[in-house]
Subunit: 145 residues, 2 copies
DNA sequence: GTAGTTGCAAACGCTTTGCGGCATA
DNA sequence: TATGCCGCAAAGCGTTTGCAACTAC
């Protein structure tokens, strides 16, 4: 699917692919577009409830699977055993997870990590397809408490 | 626990802390020291069997937990839902996971990633305690098939 | 009406816990 | 013999699957 930059375009793409624009689907796309941060199925429950939606857990998992398949969201692994997803239409970046308040900040590296990738390719004769880089520590607020 | 560099020293430390040196415990320490790569409980089954040991799954989990607590092994997260552990007495490094044959190679970066850490600290006012960096792609052998 | 979507129940797979029996020291 | 370790059974927990009912179009 060719990604649009706004929700209307995304929804049009889905519609013309023969999919239905249910309230849940539209709400999820909207939440992921607005929040632009990694969210788990558990996170989404309360967020959907404020919009008057209380989908079954199973439906939520299926919908997340659907949106991932359509390349609207992508998995983010924060090494705590929870599947999280975030909106996919954005430059490659990483995350800084506060171990205290659990806040997740975005991190964009200055020098492109092509540096990293080149190094490994030559050293291990390994062709990199993707990588994960996540930081864990204390955010600005929790650091000073 | 102060880590020794050989198995005898490690075992002595455990012994004087009031722990027993069971066959399983010694075998696991030996396997982790020799292999020096991330291993899951499932990986360990066959490796232990060749040594004549067939511990119960639960025992294995408990023993891994024990060795982690004693800081002999540490968790490695490869984002596939499996808990892996590797020997802890080694410099900080990363992994390159072949998505085809599942082989896991070590990766050591040339420039210390203090560069990375410094960048994030100033940019996000975030104090980094630890980080994860894993690469996924094709190893030298699988690349040419 | 048709096909995509939903909810319920149940299953799944890795991991953890309770507990009585076993074995290391 | 005393404490740590073991195996068995069962539970936990996030996630997945089967299937019938529902609903967007």
């Amino acid at each position: 699917m060719v990604l649009g930059s706004d929700q209307a375009e995304l929804e049009a793409d889905l519609f013309y692919s023969g999919h239905r624009l249910t309230k849940l689907r539209k709400a999820l796309i909207n939440i992921f577009m607005l929040r632009r941060q990694p969210l788990s199925a558990l996170d989404l429950g309360p967020l959907l409830k404020t919009r008057g939606l209380t989908p079954h857990k199973v439906t939520l998992y299926r919908e997340l699977d659907f949106l991932e398949d359509k390349q609207i969201i992508q998995k983010v692994d924060l090494a705590d055993g929870w599947q999280r997803f975030e909106f996919i239409d954005r430059p490659h970046h990483h995350h800084a997870v506060c171990v205290k308040c659990k806040k997740i900040e975005d991190v964009e590296l200055e020098h492109d990590n092509a540096d990293l990738e080149k190094l490994i390719k030559t050293k291990n004769n390994f062709q990199i397809l993707r990588h994960t880089l996540e930081f864990f520590g204390l955010c600005g607020e929790c650091k000073n408490v």
